[in-house]
């Protein structure tokens, strides 16, 4: 850099006043653009698709796409908690499938006791489904903290175990009808996946509530800061008196519960539970988190970024279907966007550190 003699007083008093080079302002603008890249990409997508199809930017389509986003967003929020601690959760798709089958089984044929069959109300069934997800997450967390299994391996194993459990649950079959009956007092499962409140699908409301809660937890509570600290430097977190193992178990429980909730929404919408529900959804969830700027190394990321990432993936997929692009190209485009996002993340980090150096 040779153009150093532009007169501009530096703000800091400690260091000798560095003269701000002309291109620093440009770099700052670029950095701002890179930080908001998920939003930029989303806006670009909307502009492109709405110029191709007049149906894209209609109220009903936006609502529908947001509903499709909701499931991946909830999965991705859970996964973000895990990634922030420097872990990974590959089992969320399978957990969604397992929760779906557990809930489906309870609604379709109840719980068999030696003395007879018991049916639970929809609210209880949903609660049981989420608890199952949380328990599987707790097992993940214990494997990782107590038995020192690497998160990738522990959750990869759980990916198979939970999927197998889902298949065993019905011996591979589908629970085709989850409407319930008045007599059994278990009608209304469609509420979370099919119905709307104030013109907005209930699933979207649930996503909003989950996202808001996650934002508060990650930014406004000691637990949230502990998550970032564990991901940023685990040893320093230990020395600071943070109960690192508890934090880790908690994030896998949260991830499992979110996965189960997503599985239940999908099942409710479909009105049927089948063991392959949400197969490979973990990849979409991780992609959304990464797209949203969550660093896989841990310690860096935001819930809002993840939600934006889920919107990009969802709005992109639906847009491609809407304008009639073939499945093959959908796959190619989705992959390219994810890679592009990671490259821009790298660029952002580089630009950030070079700006830090200039102003240090």
């Amino acid at each position: 850099m040779t153009d150093t003699h532009v007169a501009a007083p530096a703000p800091t008093a400690a260091a000798p006043p560095p003269e701000e080079p002309r291109n620093t302002a440009l770099a700052r603008a670029a950095l701002l653009l890179l930080r908001g890249r998920t939003l930029v990409v989303l806006v670009v997508l909307i502009i492109i698709f709405s110029s191709i199809s007049s149906e894209y930017l209609t109220q009903s389509n936006l609502i529908l796409m947001t509903k499709h986003v909701a499931i991946n967003a909830i999965l991705a929020i859970g996964v973000t908690f895990v990634i922030l601690t420097g872990g990974i959760d590959l089992s969320v798709g399978s957990i969604a499938g397992l929760a779906s089958m557990v809930a489906g089984g309870l609604l379709f044929k109840g719980l068999n006791f030696p003395g007879g069959t018991v049916f639970f109300s929809v609210a209880v069934v949903i609660l049981i489904g989420i608890v199952v997800g949380a328990l599987v997450g707790a097992v993940n967390g214990l494997l990782i903290t107590r038995f020192k299994v690497a998160p990738f391996i522990a959750t990869l194993g759980m990916l198979y175990v939970a999927r197998g459990a889902a298949q065993l649950h019905s011996n591979g079959g589908t629970y085709p009808d989850l409407a319930g009956t008045e007599a059994r007092g278990n009608t209304g499962f469609g509420f979370i996946g099919v119905d709307s409140l104030l013109g907005i699908p209930v699933a979207v409301w649930i996503m909003v509530v989950v996202a808001a809660a996650a934002i508060v937890v990650t930014t406004k509570t000691p637990f949230g800061k502990h998550i970032f600290a564990v991901g940023g430097n685990e040893r320093a977190a230990v020395l600071s008196g943070i109960r690192v193992n508890r934090v880790k178990i908690a994030v896998y429980v949260i991830s499992g519960a979110c996965a189960a909730l997503a599985g239940l929404l999908l099942t409710s919408e479909l009105g049927a539970a089948y063991p392959d529900t949400a197969t490979t959804y973990e990849l979409n969830a991780i992609a959304a988190a990464v797209l949203g700027g969550t660093a896989l190394a841990g310690g860096r990321g935001t819930i809002i970024g993840t939600v934006m990432g889920a919107f990009v993936i969802g709005f992109l997929s639906d847009g491609l279907v809407l304008v009639g692009v073939s499945t093959f190209w959908q796959s190619v485009v989705k992959g390219a966007v994810i890679i592009f996002a990671v490259i821009t993340e790298q660029a952002q980090q580089r630009l950030q550190s070079s700006l830090n150096r200039r102003t240090a």
Binding site: P16, P222, F228, V238, G299, A360
Partner: protein, 504 residues
Amino acid sequence: MSEIVEAHNISKNYGGVRALKDVTFTAYRGQVNVLVGENGAGKSTLMKILSGSEQPTSGEIRLDGEAVQLDSPRTAQALGIGIIHQELSLFPNMTIAENLFAGRELRKGGRFVDAGGQRQRARDVLKRLGQDKLDPDTLVGDLPIGQQQLVEIGRALLEDVRVLIMDEPTSALSNHEVDVLFEVMADLRKQDVTVIYISHKLDEFRRIGDWVTVFRDGSLVAHESMSKTDTGWIVRQMVGRDPDSLYVRNSSPVGDVLLDVRGLSVPGTVKVDDVSLTVRAGEVVGIYGLMGAGRTELVETLMGMRQASSGQVSVRGVEEPKGTVRARMAAGLALVPEDRQRDGLVQTMSVRENILLSTLARMTRSGLLNAGAEQRTAKDKVGELAIKIPGLGALVTALSGGNQQKVVLARALLTEPVVLLLDEPTRGIDVGAKSQIAGLMADLAAQGFGVLFISSELAEVMAMADRVLVMARGRITAEFTAENVTEEALVTASASESVLEAQS
């Protein structure tokens, strides 16, 4: 005596910051040329330029009287200039021979690695380094840090090096290892190799250096034959003031026993063996010893990061049996660790978040963090410890080493400890910051804290501690008061093998 490296009127700008201001530096052939200066004084920048990894903004470099362009590390190497960095760049999973030839493997038949040839030449190099007993097939990761350092030097020697630049090579070495290194340097000097040696350790480089060059604020402020200088003169040149004020001795009255350790043992490769000690209120206690003597393991166990196999730890007269970090923290202990980057800081977080990390639970209002309380608490501590920061929200990695150390200290103090454990609190920070940390420790003692600190520097431990404990092989081998401590006694006690023999 002839000049081998001459750097004329070198300036270097980073963006708008001038890291080097018109520096003219000379290194003499076959001599040890020492460079000293506080962090950020420009030593490392000049060395980067001499080793080809940075280009000067202006100025000229001459090697043996001829102007040269050092536009890459490779060019510098070809001209016989090698550099050994502070952080080792070895592959712990490969053998000594493989490390020596990494990236420039000897070939056999053009394609295959000539392992036998490499081994033979590795043996030659190790011999030259006085390490004939070392097997070239040993994994580098299995070597102690001092020998790893020698392997790194071996890499440079393979290249037929004429000028060897060493950037703080002793910061991780024990005294014995430093002795070995200095012998090697003396041998190299005899072989007409020129050494440019950067160091912070005054007592060390005075033993080996022929010339000393002092940097301050990007300028070369003094250049003198070592024999014509003394420690006081060098420190004055470095900080621009008198060294008597460097270390502040604690003089506060001693009160009750705050920390009482009885028979503490910890198993492991570096063990702690039946250690008992006390720290009283108002007292600064130093632990001196070599690397691997068990000092870090001792304080980590006190803090609950390691589990003791036997022994009791009492704080303020109350035994703390649980031995978890939280329990020890609640009892009143706090640790400022040796390796800030590894154990102290969360690099992805801001200054404020790092300061508050241990005490977040106190900053809440109905479960949610209270931003106002956070800001106030962090700001108070920053003022109290005079931490220089661009802002509370800035990333902690943007601070200098001394200020990062103060951030870790601030976090420890917020837990309201009664005894502070400090592991090498002045390691890797410059003289000015060292003096500040020493002042803070004295202040804390005056406020009634007990302070237990670890140091590997004789001068520092002798100047700062009211009482010095010496550790060797996991045991406490000697105890001195400030009045009766001598350098010789410390060195003898730290090298004590007798305890080991008595054990086994």
